[in-house]
Amino acid sequence: MTPGENKTVPETRQESRAKSRELGPSVPHSTLDSLARQSEAGTARPSTVPTALALTVRNLSVSFGGNQVLKHTSLDIAARAVTAIIGPSGCGKSTFLRALNRMHELTPEARVEGEIRLFGEDIYARNVEPVVVRRRIGMVFQKSNPFPTMSIVENVTVGLRLNGVRNRRLLAERTEQSLRMAALWDEVKDRLHAPAVSLSGGQQQRLCIARALAVQPEVLLMDEPASALDPLATAKIEDLIVELKKDYTIVIVTHNMQQAARMSDFTAFFYLGELVEFDTTTKIFTSPAKKQTEDYVTGRFG
């Protein structure tokens, strides 16, 4: 890899995000009444217009060693909005999420079928490198995992540095910007060189978010990012997610129904590896179309 070609990577991505920003204002989520559910070709899509779509998932199936965990799922994910994935344990939520940035390729026996397009581009196309997909679609995990050998600042910049960015000014800028976006800057600005593991659990998770933001992805996937945190830290993460959707497309898996209701714009309910219902969050939580969805969101099972 030549450093020159790498240095241009973040800028190009910035441009592409700027482009996606022009695609229109956020989806008007409150127009609940005007919603007529549309299920053309089996695709779940709330019929709000106009919708800039970040990800279009078609007929996605994932199996592990012959055991099908996710079955023929089609789903549209709106740009610059929060889409929540809910459902009982083992329903394929995380499997779905991890298919979106090709993380299943780390598991040898995993098989992914179907089509996923990121702003129209097939991310599973033969000539697309998974590394490139993951730069555009970042991920935050359930368990905070800052790299233990690195300081706070090193953690934030690691994605850039290991992709060949050497420019100190750019790195410093990105550090402050990412930490500010993750609402962590004020807490750590005086000890950027302290070990990342010296932070509290909630701070570590926000550091992981900052680390993911620093490479300027277009989409941020979050796999139960607050499930291991106390209520105060959870509230901070939630505020942060609502703030982040101004710039990012966010897909979040959560077990916490209130959390999904509070901060997401769209909600998808998965059960036994199938997408049961997908609509605006208001619709899902107030008048779901399916009985199963209603039972789940009202806590009658799961």
Binding site: L106, R134, M139, F141, N145, T149, V158, L162, P195, R211
Partner: protein
Amino acid sequence: MTAPNHRWRKFKNAVIQTLTFACAILVVAPLVLVFYHLISQGFSSINWAFFTQLPKPVGEVGGGMANAIVGTFVLLGQAAVFGVPVGVLGGVFLSEYGSSRLNWWIRFTADVINGVPSITWGMVVYALMVVPMRGFSALAGGIVLGMMMIPLVMRTTEEVLQLVPHGYREAALALGINKWRAIVQIVVRTALKGIVTGVLLALARVAGETAPLLFTAFGNHFWTHKLTDPISALPLQIFNYAISPYDDWHRQAWAGALVLLVLVLAINIGVRFLTRDRFQKQS
């Protein structure tokens, strides 16, 4: 409550406890015994000259093992240069890349190699290097020790890499970092202490090897200036002195054994020190 039965159980427990404790003590005893013996026999011969002078010819009293001590470090240095990169990279392959079927064979081979008697190694390297090069050499000694280190380093590297939580690998890849960079800069870096520990233990293990050096490094009564010349090493010098008929050489052999033991012990204590603090420091 059945009191007598209870007392019988307590008694059985006490018997087992005593038995296991006695065996645990038996594990520690040899070290104490070896140390006591070496100190009582060899300590009197340890002086400045022992560390600074060459061996004296037969009949002359005094002299030291300076060349053997330096030779041991030269051989260990070469062994590290040959053995560590191969061992560490092999361990990285086993942990990060290999398929389970291939890994099984590699691990099996490494374990077999680990069990090959050290004198066999000496003979193989004698045939492969000493004979074609027409002479014993420090290089051959370093290579034989390096070859013995490889399986040890490889297995410990694999083990410590497996201890690195999977989440770090995923986090790195989710940042769009290439796999090899994630392995080198994040996974290996996280496990670095463990890898260094494995390397040091492997060095300690081969530091005392004598048999493979008999056919390769051979030994030398003088300083070695070229790696293609024979070189002395502590175990070789101890062996040569111990089988000699002279009392003065016997005393020097004890002293040499003491120095060798202290060296190995120092490496082990260093390893303990390295692995002691769980929190990684920032440089």
